[in-house]
Every structure is written in C-alpha cells, then in structure tokens.
C-alpha cells in the first residue's frame, strides 16, 4: 500500500514507458506532485470503456437507451477498476474484499467466493502495477414499454501485469443487471480469467517467481 513514488517503483529493468504507465494506473504517483517526470515520457495511456447496445428485445426509447448504456458502462468500469486495474499494487488478497461496487450484497458475497477470478486477489501480492490494454462492454437489453427491465453486459478486459509476474490477463464473461431498489445492480455473473506469460518478458522485480506452466493459461 505504498503512496510515495520511491516505494512504488520496482527495482527493475523494465522499460520506462511501462513503468510510468503502471504507476499512473496503479495510482502510486498520486500524492507526489513535485516528483519530476522524465521529459521524454509520453502521457500514460488512457483506456476508456465504450459501452454499446448490441441487442434489444422489446422496444427501447432512445432516451432510455442512452441512459442505460451510460449507467451500465459506468458500473462495469467501476468493477474493472476496483477488481483489476485500479488501486495500489502490490496488494494482499484482503485488499480486494470491496472489489464489487454495483453488485447486490448477495452477488458480491458469491463473487468473493471466487475472489481469484473475480479480482486480482490471487496475483495482487506478486505484481506492482497493471496497464489496461482493452476494456469493453456490449449490452443485451430486455425492454418493456420503452424502458429497460433487464440487461446482460458482455464484458472483456485485458491488461498487463508488472513486477514478479509479468503477464497479459484477459477477463471476460457476462454480468446481469436489473433495477433493484431504484438503481441498476449486478445480480448475477459468469466470468473467466485467463493468463498468458508475455514472451521474452523478464520480471521487473528480481526476487519474483515466474509463472509456472499451470499458471500460464488460467488463474
């Protein structure tokens, strides 16, 4: 749970660009406004989520379509951040218990039973940063009388991890949402998470382990 730049920087040899990107995305540099950046460092890449409606069953008013797209996009992005690409690294598994904003209490409790898949809890202590590569969500909407009553969000997120575990991770599956107590909430989920070691990558932290073959494909 480091906050200063020095504590966040891995003792390693990875490219400067990657480090800066990882730092910016893991929030490690937030409190250190005076720390000078190398002049040649490009701005940290911002990967934005662009939710789209792919399938509508029933009639959906344009206004309702825009509203549900924005709302679900925001909810899904909040989960991506809380569970995978936001926050500080390294982080122990206990740091992921609040990784499910926007989930119903029951769905969050069930997600916590598969915390390694539903968040970075299983690898959080082995990495010191993540860089998002792609974020996506497509919606299937069930609408009645012009208004949405149920949404299936097809989600995918890929990101790189840095530190002892250098890998590319892919999270994909679906979140199901309904309006519960006047707000849209995730009440069901089916998610897979796969991991690929990056060819030729060396851990940016010397003491770390490299992923074993069994870790290499799925977590």
């Amino acid at each position: 749970m480091s906050t200063s730049l020095e504590r966040c920087l891995p003792a390693a040899r990875a490219a400067v660009v990657l480090l800066v990107a990882a730092l910016a995305l893991s929030g490690c540099g937030g409190s250190d406004k005076t720390t000078p950046r190398p002049p040649s460092t490009p701005a940290a890449p911002t990967v934005r989520i662009k939710p789209t409606v792919e399938h509508v069953t029933g009639r959906l008013k344009p206004k309702a379509r825009r509203a549900i797209t924005a709302r679900v996009g925001k909810l899904v992005d909040a989960w991506y951040d809380a569970a995978y690409v936001g926050g500080d690294y390294p982080r122990p598994a206990s740091g992921f218990t609040h990784a499910f904003p926007g989930f119903t209490p029951g769905a969050a409790a069930q997600a916590r039973q598969s915390l390694d898949l539903m968040s970075n809890a299983g690898i959080g202590s082995k990495i010191d940063g993540v860089t998002p590569i792609t974020k996506g969500v497509k919606l299937d909407v069930l609408a009645v009388k012009g208004w949405p009553v149920g949404v299936t969000a097809r989600v995918w997120l890929s990101f790189r991890t840095h530190g002892s575990l250098v890998s590319r991770q892919l999270v994909r599956g679906q979140l199901d949402l309904a309006k519960i107590d006047k707000d849209w909430k995730v009440f069901a989920f089916t998610i897979t998470k796969t991991r690929r070691p990056l060819a030729g990558a060396t851990p940016s932290s010397g003491a770390g382990e490299s992923p074993t073959p069994s870790q290499g494909a799925t977590s």
């Binding site: 598969s114 898949l117 069930l142 309006k179 009440f187 069901a188 897979t192 977590s219």
Partner: protein, 316 residues
C-alpha cells in the same frame, strides 16, 4: 545372442511404436491447438475456470431457495385459464446458491380435500380458488407451499417451446395417441417442437401407468427446457427473448425485472444436480370417475426431503 537381438528388436519396435504414437498424438494436438509450434506457452490444454453466481434477493427464501408451482391449465381459447382445471401440476424447487433443482409431479387426478369445497380432484382447486387455491392444495399434499404459481395454457407452452427453438428429450418408451399424435413418439432421444412438447406432456391413455407416467413426461419436458436455456444462456438476446415470451404467455404477477432475475437463476441450474419425483398413489373410482388416491405420507416425505435445499435424495 539371437534372443538378445530379438529382445533388442522388440525394444526398438516398442520404442518406434511409442514414438509413432507420440508423434500421432502430437500431430493431432498440433491440429487442434492452433499455433502450438509458435508459442507453446500460449496453448496449453487446461480446464477454463469460471466464476458464476446469481442473487435473486427476496425472490428466494433466506436459504436461497425458490418454490414455484407450474400449472398447465386445460383452458380452451376464450376461457379464463386462472379458473379452469389444472391439467399439469409440477412443484419446482430451485436452489440459487447450489444450483440444484427438484421437480415433484402431482397427478392431476389426485383425490384430496379442498377446503370449503369438499373432496375433489386436486386440479379442481384452480377452478375454485385460482392460483392461490391450487398453491394451497399442493402445499397441503406435499408439505411445501410454493412461493409462486405460474399458470399457462397448453397453446402457450407450445409458443414458449417454439420461442426457444424446440427441445430434446429422452423418451423411455414409444407411444402414440390417435387424437394428439397418431404417428406417435419414438423411443430414445427425440426432438420436440412446441406442438410435440404439448402432446408429449398431455398424452395419458397410451402410457402404462397413465397419470404417473404423464407426470414423469412433463418433468422430462421441463428438464429439457431448462437444458436448452442453460446451453444458450450466453447467446446474445436468448434469455431476454425467452423472458419476453414468458411475459406474453404466462400469467404471473411478478414484474418483468424479477422474471429476468428468475430466468438467470433457472439458466444456472446444474442438470447433474437435478432430480424429479412423481407423487404415487392407488388408482380408484369415485362416482364413475377415475381418480388417484395419493400416498400422502410418501408425498410429505418428498417435501421434507427437498424443502430446505431443493434437493431430492431419491427418485430419478
């Protein structure tokens, strides 16, 4: 020396065979694993782990269990299907936490007491008391009171099965019916479209054990519908389309959002954790009508077995 040479040949032959076999396996693996030779670490045959969960909130009890009575009404077009006779009665339990499910079939001719109306066939409870009446009657017989009663008529069952593209069932015995299915149903795995699903669920006289076997066939249809939903739950729009069809064809006071949540719970039911029973009884006659005198103690035992976790330990 000769024996040594022969032994050596055998070893070489065995090794060659082993190498060939290994080569074949690798060749097949290379065919089925794309890019295996380029990036071996990227193509490992592993079981993909999946996290799955569903929270239906107050739709289930505090154990995460939902009990639904599915009623197939024999209402003809124009009749009020909520106050006719229920032809098919299935008490369905779903455990949203373990993804187990149970179905207890009740022969429609079961002779029971209907409070305020004396003794009658259990399906008359829908005529007298509507969905609540039939729910109470089944609850008294089995000892598990359904939280929800879904009533549909057979025409609507046809529509719903057609909406999901038909179903596959394993039919244990060939049978036919002059009125509903003159060409009959073959034994074995068969495809049923909407009409066939209706006929398969309704035919009784051609079956050896009449009402009991018909009830078991209804459970086969229900299980097949669930299997179809499960197999296609991730197809874009599939579940939404199914829910829209249910809203059109089923009488329920559940709001659409709750039906959507229920559909997600049904889609997650694990067929390997599903079991079905039919309430048994003695065939008899009351006033010239064929009736079933249900074995109440056995029906209650089924209810006791499944009440808390929607899991039956016996039957099919």
């Amino acid at each position: 020396m000769t024996s040594l040479r022969t032994g050596l040949h055998r070893v070489v032959r065995r090794r060659l065979l082993g190498t060939l076999t290994l080569g074949l396996v690798l060749a097949v693996a290379a065919l089925v694993v794309p890019d295996a030779s380029v990036a071996p670490t990227d193509a490992q045959l592993v079981k993909l782990q999946e996290a799955s969960g569903v929270d239906v909130g107050k739709l289930a009890n505090n154990r995460g269990v939902i009990w639904i009575l599915a009623v197939g009404s024999d209402a003809r077009p124009g009749q009020d299907m909520l106050h006719t006779r229920g032809d098919a009665l299935q008490l369905i339990g779903i455990n949203t936490r373990t993804h187990a499910a149970s179905a207890i079939g009740i022969p429609r001719d079961s002779w029971v007491d209907i409070p305020g109306h004396g003794e009658n066939k259990i399906n008359a409870a829908l005529y007298y008391g509507g969905p609540r009446g039939i729910g109470d009657a089944v609850g008294r017989l089995v000892g598990v009171r359904p939280t929800y009663v879904f009533v549909t008529r057979f025409q609507f069952l046809e529509n719903m099965v057609n909406a999901i593209g038909g179903i596959e069932v394993r039919n244990p015995v060939a049978f036919a019916d002059d009125a509903l299915k003159p060409k009959g149903f073959k034994k074995g795995r068969i495809h049923l479209d909407g009409y066939d699903a209706m006929a398969f669920s309704r035919i009784r006289h051609a079956l050896l054990r009449g009402d009991f076997d018909r009830s078991a066939n209804q459970e086969r249809v229900l299980a097949a519908i669930q299997q179809k939903i499960r197999n296609h739950q991730h197809d874009p729009g599939f579940l939404a389309k199914g829910v829209a069809s249910v809203m059109k064809n089923l009488s329920t006071n559940l709001p659409p959002g709750d039906l959507f949540r229920l559909a997600q719970a049904i889609a997650r039911v694990d067929p390997t954790k599903t079991r079905t029973c039919v309430v048994q009884g003695a065939i008899g006659d009351v006033g010239g009508a064929s009736v079933v005198f249900p074995y109440v103690a056995a029906a209650r035992a089924m209810g006791d077995d499944a009440r808390n976790d929607a899991t039956l330990s016996r039957c099919r």
